[in-house]
């Protein structure tokens, strides 16, 4: 063994979206900063708990010291996480399993992010109106929390949620869902996309229908087209997380904890990384930053 007491850390995603490529940059930065640590970045290709369990099992078999995982289904993976904590340090990131024995959670408060989106909708539709929400899968935790946040904020206002349309992460369906909505509800005032590809899908469909000026769009995450849409004023705003921080913080915290330093874990065991609202005024600056993180000029 060359590294002597070098610690093996792993970062496990919940799917293969490019959200995670930014988190990966954070991991890599931390990895570079920390001499006695090696980081493995594992992507859960098909986004299922089954695959995640397999990855974790294999990691343990390899003798990993710490895992930062984004559980696909926290409630029901609690048991698994507890099992893992017997052999390695576990952080949850991106989505939390609060009832488990994980050492800490690093990530977004998705309900709060949903509330932010709700506020944005209220802002852009002061007179109220009917809106439709789009997402890949409704049984995903972050989808439900974001939706919950939106619903909370819009309760009692004039904004009415027609329905939630799912597309099973099929981008073609994501777009045709929007097109069909525009046909079915010609009076629809706002469209909300909860997952990263929903933003571009909404934008493209609205553009095809020639309704860019009538319909207000609010979405999540920082897909290139979403940012371009914000810049061009076609999308009102997007709520973004800071996955870079997920990766960076998670690795840092794990490394410190394994070295015996528990000071970076607060008593609540939750390290919230705030979500940002990107509108036309700050989109340029944000785009630049994100492109830098993605290694683009």
């Amino acid at each position: 063994q060359s590294g002597g007491s070098s610690k093996k850390l792993a970062f496990v995603t919940n799917n293969a979206a490019d959200f995670w490529t930014i988190a990966r940059k954070g991991c890599e930065k931390a990895d570079a900063e920390l001499a006695d640590v090696s980081v493995e970045f594992k992507i859960t290709s098909d986004g299922t708990a089954a695959e995640q369990k397999r990855i974790v099992d294999d990691l343990l078999a390899k003798g990993v010291d710490g895992i930062a995982i984004s559980p696909v289904d926290p409630d029901n993976q609690t048991q698994m996480i507890n099992d893992v904590t017997k052999q390695a340090l576990v952080l949850t990131q991106d989505s939390d399993a609060p009832n488990s024995n994980r050492a800490a959670y690093v990530g977004t408060d998705n309900v709060a992010a949903g509330r932010q989106a709700g506020e944005l909708i209220k802002e852009v539709l002061p007179q109220g109106g009917r809106i439709m929400i789009f997402v890949g899968k409704l049984d995903a935790r972050n989808a439900q929390e974001r939706l919950q946040g939106i619903k909370e904020t819009l309760r009692g206002t004039n904004v009415q949620i027609i329905d939630v349309r799912t597309d099973d992460t099929d981008e073609v369906r994501a777009k045709s869902n929007v097109s069909d909505t525009l046909v079915r509800y010609p009076d629809v005032a706002g469209l909300v996309g909860l997952w990263s590809y929903n933003g571009p899908a909404i934008l493209n469909a609205v553009r095809d229908a020639g309704k860019t000026n009538q319909i207000k769009i609010v979405c999540f995450d920082e897909a290139d087209q979403t940012l371009a849409g914000v810049r061009d004023g076609l999308i009102y705003a997007t709520v973004v997380q800071q996955p870079f921080e997920f990766g960076y913080q998670a690795i840092q915290i794990m490394a410190k904890s394994l070295a015996g330093d528990r000071s970076s874990i607060p008593a609540s065991k939750q390290v919230f990384i705030p979500t940002l609202v990107i509108k036309r005024d700050n989109v340029g600056e944000f785009t630049q930053k994100i492109n830098g993180l993605r290694g683009r000029s």
């Binding site: 992460t169 099929d170 981008e171 097109s179 909505t181 525009l182 590809y197 087209q225």
Partner: protein, 312 residues
């Protein structure tokens, strides 16, 4: 026409019912949306149909869309290639993969299911690797607006994918139902041995079906890439092979080979798209989307079977 009749009637009945429940079904905007999707799905379903007629199967198209989409985006936006070149490369790549499948199936004699299953896995992995798991897109298509218009624009109000499909179907109809080559496809699919004894180079015929399917997948891949304008390598095109195979089979192609028609495939494709459209248009909860699709197809096919049996 006999075998497609049931599916066709089902399609007509569905359209009437949906129109009755929501007249917006016939709104120009809706028809355009549907036509665009029927165009895109129809193009590659025809390719799959040809392969199925030879008694084969192609599971790789969905992954191929991801791979070709990623490549297209990179060629146009990152490497600055010209539209024409990029299109040629994409279609050429589709054909190259098709030839590879054909070669493995006819010369190395690996089962089509395995060859194309490996394709499904491999191309997806390759797409993700090339794209480095990042979503690719075309931004505002600066510099290749023409290509985008050809791929997803409209021609005198008719979506170009539909126009493309019309042209392709016409050509393929002649090829399949009127040409010597088409006859050979059916012959090889029905009875490869007898075809060989009749002097047909059955290996080349089978291989060519995969090449054609690859070319059509390339064209459809371009359309899909511009339609979504965003290609996430891990999910773009997932399950599309199933839709294509389903369209072909619904339209009367038999997986045992030797049966099928272009018109049938078109009807099958249209049926699947109308079903998708209907769920949204009638405001059926998305969660029931699949259930409705499954149930309607099954009922239609059963009714068809019973009618056909009564007729004979």
């Amino acid at each position: 026409m006999k075998k497609e009749l049931g599916t066709f009637l089902l399609l007509v009945v569905l359209c009437i019912v949906v129109t009755a429940l929501n007249p917006r079904f016939l709104a120009p905007a809706n028809l355009q949306n549907m036509a665009r999707l029927i165009g895109a799905y129809g193009i590659f379903s025809i390719g799959l149909g040809l392969v199925i007629i030879t008694g084969g199967i192609d599971l790789s198209v969905g992954s191929l869309f991801a791979l070709l989409g990623v490549l297209l985006s990179m060629m146009l936006t990152e490497w600055g290639w010209s539209s024409v070149l990029a299109v040629l490369v994409v279609i050429g790549a589709g054909m190259a993969f098709g030839s590879l499948h054909g070669f493995l199936i006819t010369r190395v004699r690996v089962q089509p299911f395995i060859v194309t299953l490996c394709g499904l896995l491999f191309y997806r992995g390759l797409a993700r690797f090339i794209a480095n798991d990042e979503t690719k897109g075309f931004g505002s298509a600066a510099g290749f607006e023409t290509l985008r218009n050809v791929a997803t624009g409209s021609l005198v109000g008719i979506p170009t994918p539909f126009v493309l499909l019309a042209v392709i179907s016409l050509v393929m109809w002649v090829v399949l139902h009127r040409s010597v080559y088409g006859r050979y496809l059916f012959a090889v699919g029905r009875n490869e041995v007898a075809a060989r004894y009749s002097g047909i180079n059955s290996r080349n015929v089978v291989a060519s079906a995969y090449i054609l399917s690859g070319a059509l997948a390339g064209i459809a891949g371009i359309v899909f890439a511009f339609y979504t304008n965003s290609i996430s390598p891990s999910s773009h095109g997932n399950f599309f092979e199933l839709y294509g195979i389903a369209a072909a089979v619904l339209g009367g192609c038999s997986l045992r080979g030797g049966e099928g028609s272009i018109i049938g495939i078109l009807i099958g494709t249209a049926l699947l798209q109308v079903l998708q459209n209907l769920v949204n248009l009638l405001g059926i909860p998305s969660s029931l989307n699949f259930a409705v699709m499954g149930a309607v197809i099954l009922i239609g096919v059963i009714a068809d079977q019973i009618l056909q049996r009564r007729a004979s």
